[in-house]
């Protein structure tokens, strides 16, 4: 499989009559995007706004982030199985609007947080303060039941990324990244002495607002499955998870999965990267058994010497993470976990909801209860209601000058458990 991600570096974004990229400036025809999204009869109104790095702008509540792209060679338009015809992904050439993100907002339920601050203290904590954000506010028709509402918003975001991605069809890339890997027999023949490594990516798979999709299939219904890293980089995995702001994996982060990219960078040099296993995080104990046993079995079947496992969420998925680790270590597979922790405001509580002695190598992406102060914004894109939810977290969380104290928990991507961001925890 060979995938070329042709990065077109975006330096600014403006509204205009055309859809194009010229000299790094992305011009968006707002009417064209709105018209496309209004084709869905469940959508009542679409509002589009821009948020640029450094502006005193706050976006809330963020549902998903998606990277706008267009495939210029090879199969797959949009997101196959979701917004496009079903084809296998992972081959071909893709023009990527690098540095731009479609950010969807909209209250599906009233208690959503999901802050992105484009400036100041808040900007430090989210990777999406560094992207030029095209914020799409999706207001559905009245009376939709929550599942349908969620799907409407999810699809609108993906379609927006697809339409905007078209702007880059004829632009020249600033750099081209090539991801190429043969089948296992070929790669193992090429690198007979390199240790074989798999990446296990866990996905919250628990129902409304807590779902992930692979080629459009709800991950609740799958056994752990093996996927080529190129497929995920090409858009095979979609986020339907809207509540765990700090540690959900947005669609953008699937498209640019940092664990995949960092493993790919070592492929053929220090490791033989075998692929990605997508593992659902279920609610029932028996379900956890099944998926964890199956995941470990896939790893040993493939002959992995080492595995990186990343979690999504906090709470019951901690058990899955550690159960997988335990099974792998017992099978002699060296395992590194990526998780975040919830060690309380003072950092003195037990970090995870479970523990196992086999988890000897763990990367912590930060304490979700760490308190940060967000200054008042000049401009808020989104919902004042969500701000009041954020500000009312506890007594004294809203100060007189309008700044808000909140936990990292509310900040999009702050403690990304695929290791997309730089937060970590140190013992003091």
């Amino acid at each position: 499989m060979k995938l070329e991600l042709r990065k077109i570096q975006i330096k600014d974004v403006v509204f205009g009559d055309k859809m194009e990229v010229n000299g790094g400036v992305l011009t968006i025809n707002k009417d064209q995007v709105v018209a496309k999204l209004m084709e869905d009869h469940r959508v009542k109104e679409i509002k589009i706004d821009l948020a640029k790095p450094g502006e005193k702008t706050r976006i809330i509540p963020v549902k998903d982030c998606i990277e706008p792209r267009v495939k210029i060679e090879g199969e797959g338009k949009g997101f196959p199985g979701v917004t496009g015809k079903m084809v296998p992904l992972g081959d071909g050439k893709v023009n990527v609007l690098d540095g731009a993100a479609v950010v969807t907002i909209g209250d599906i339920v009233g208690f959503q947080e999901g802050v992105v601050d484009m400036w100041g203290e808040g900007a430090k904590w989210t990777p999406f303060s560094k992207t030029f954000n095209i914020v799409v506010d999706i207001i559905p028709v009245e009376g939709l039941e929550p599942h349908v509402h969620e799907e409407t918003v999810r699809l609108a975001g993906l379609k927006a990324a697809e339409v905007i991605g078209e702007a880059g069809r004829y632009a020249e890339p600033t750099n081209v990244e090539v991801f190429e890997m043969g089948n296992h027999a070929e790669e193992s023949a090429k690198y007979p002495n390199l240790p074989k490594v798999l990446y296990v990516e866990m996905l919250i798979s628990q129902g409304l607002l807590h779902d992930g999709y692979i080629y459009g299939v709800n991950s609740q219904k799958i056994l752990p499955t093996l996927i080529h890293p190129n497929e995920e980089l090409d858009g095979a995995v979609i986020s339907g998870n809207c509540v765990a702001a700090c540690d959900k994996i947005t669609t953008y982060q699937h498209q640019n999965n940092s664990a995949i990219l960092d493993l790919y960078a070592e492929h053929g040099k220090t490791i033989n990267f075998l692929g990605v296993i997508l593992t659902p995080e279920l609610t029932t104990l028996e379900g956890k058994f099944r998926t964890c046993d199956y995941t470990a079995k896939l790893c040993t079947m493939m002959g992995a010497d080492g595995v990186i496992v990343s979690e999504e969420g906090y709470g019951n998925p901690d058990s899955d993470l550690l159960m997988i680790c335990k099974r792998l270590e017992k099978a002699g597979v060296k395992t590194v976990l990526i998780t975040d922790e919830c060690s309380g405001w003072d950092g003195m509580s037990q970090p995870l909801a479970d523990t196992t002695k086999e988890a000897v190598a763990v990367v912590s992406a930060g304490n979700v209860s760490h308190v940060v102060t967000l200054e008042p914004a000049d401009k808020v894109i989104g919902s004042a209601k969500a701000i009041s939810t954020l500000a009312g977290g506890w007594d004294g969380s809203l100060s007189e000058d309008g700044s808000i104290k909140c936990e990292l928990n509310a900040v999009i991507g702050a403690t990304s458990e695929i290791g997309y961001h730089n937060c970590t925890v140190k013992l003091y």
């Binding site: 208690f111 409304l208 479970d354 009312g392």
Partner: protein
Amino acid sequence: MSYRIVTNNPSVRDSYKNVIFIDGTYEDVLVKVRDLVHSGVELIDSPLGASIRMLLSPYRSILVGTERQAMNADQILLIEQSILNYRTLTQRRNSEPQHANDYAVVDKALLEASIQAYEDMKCPTHSKFTGGEFLETRA
């Protein structure tokens, strides 16, 4: 009926027959589940949700078995530890009465998914859930 629902969510109470309704808080639901697990009732669901936000929900619904069986030490540790984690997470938080209805909707939807998953599996026996040290049969 192979399961019961311990819940404090009125909309779950009104939609299902096999409900142990708790007129109380999320923590009261966990405590009731703890009492049941101590008496040998199987824990079907993991007691905590998968996101911090849902831990702030005023409502929680948890699936348990219907019969008393041999006491399961792993499940006891799991529910006890969950209660401790729950307290750590929520000790400073204000309640959000304005969102109660939304939380009720999502709690019920997650319960539905859980019931579906359980029925798909039709596990006849008592779960010997083994997680980390808290949950593991020490072998």
